[in-house]
């Protein structure tokens, strides 16, 4: 990445000296360079190179953070005065909820990339993110349910937060089904991008549902005006687990994107091979 930045800077310096670029402020050149660098990094070929180099480090960091987070969860975090040991479920439930929303947000940004710029990597990113986001949403729902039974006395209530998370899971499933339904990848990408953006309206509903309606689910206790309401000995291990889940999610997403690019290459080569075979079969008949 540094090498690419240096090369981009060098190219612009050469262009600037040879008056190939119009005159402008240094900030404008920096902006142009940044856009140029991002464009280069987002090309599938470049992406495969830099993501291949980065992936082992991201995966290693995820393992280290998970190990540290789990140690803190089981050996440092004290039992809660009300929840007792059941509070330990929160150290997977909260990171899973964060990742469920994070991946949908990333998919919404990718959907804009597909619809506005028609960037091939945007659809790849979106398609790779959907199963991972769905998996984290399912973890959030199941762990929340297993926490709810001993704490609330029920596995499930049709409370606004729980229901909006269930809707998020159903949207993820719907998007995955839509990709499989439409055979033409370009049409599928546009349809999924539109549905993703429509579904993004659920994100603020999830976030603010505990403020807008009277819910059994507790209100926000980390991202809130006035700071977190959790004591430090419980908050920092939770933040470590959130960081671990984020890095793990990024590693899985990078890997899934790389596989998706390979899948599209396989599809293109298979179509070319089929066209060659068709042409070979038709040639003797024409003669």
């Amino acid at each position: 990445m540094v090498h690419t930045l240096c090369r981009t800077r060098l190219r612009y310096a050469v262009l600037r000296r040879s008056s190939a670029l119009p005159r402008g402020t240094p900030a404008r050149y920096t902006r142009v360079m940044a856009i140029g660098l991002l464009t280069r990094l987002a090309q599938p070929g470049h992406f495969m190179r830099w993501s291949g180099a980065l992936l082992p480090w991201v995966a290693g960091l995820a393992v280290v953070l998970l190990a540290v987070g789990q140690y803190l969860t089981w050996f440092v975090v004290p039992p809660d005065y009300q929840q007792g040991e059941t509070v330990r479920i929160m150290y997977i439930h909260v990171p899973a909820a964060w990742m469920a929303v994070f991946f949908y947000g990333a998919m919404a940004v990718s959907a804009l990339g597909t619809l506005i710029w028609r960037h091939p990597l945007a659809d790849v990113a979106q398609r790779a993110a959907a199963p991972i986001g769905a998996a984290f949403t399912l973890i959030c729902l199941v762990t929340g349910s297993l926490w709810g039974k001993p704490m609330w006395g029920t596995y499930w209530v049709w409370d606004a937060r729980l229901t909006s998370m269930l809707v998020l899971f159903l949207i993820y499933c719907g998007l995955l089904a839509l990709w499989r339904t439409i055979e033409d990848p370009n049409r599928a990408a546009r349809a999924v991008a539109i549905l993703t953006l429509v579904g993004a309206i659920n994100l603020p509903i999830i976030k603010f549902s505990v403020n807008w309606w009277s819910t059994l689910h507790q209100p926000a206790s980390i991202l809130r005006m006035g700071g977190p309401t959790i004591y430090a000995s419980m908050l920092y291990p939770l933040l470590v687990m959130i960081a671990a889940a984020s890095v793990l999610g990024i590693a899985l997403h990078l890997q899934a994107m790389r596989t998706e690019i390979l899948r599209r290459r396989v599809r293109t080569l298979t179509i070319l091979e089929a066209e060659r075979l068709d042409a070979a079969l038709m040639a003797p008949q024409a003669a």
Partner: protein, 51 residues
């Protein structure tokens, strides 16, 4: 460590999470291998039907 009367809920939550994460990792590895195999097969195939 004594997890108290709610141990099945706590262990159930962690067990389910581990299963899902392992399934995600296994799917990522197996899917990549399948695509790499398919790509290698297509690259090695001789251009059939060419004269």
């Amino acid at each position: 460590m004594d997890l108290g009367p709610h141990a099945p809920f706590i262990l159930g939550a962690y067990g389910f999470t581990v299963l899902v994460i392992l399934a995600l990792v296994a799917h990522a590895i197996l899917d990549r291998r399948a695509q790499e195999r398919a790509l290698a097969r297509l690259a090695q195939e001789p251009p059939r039907g060419r004269r």
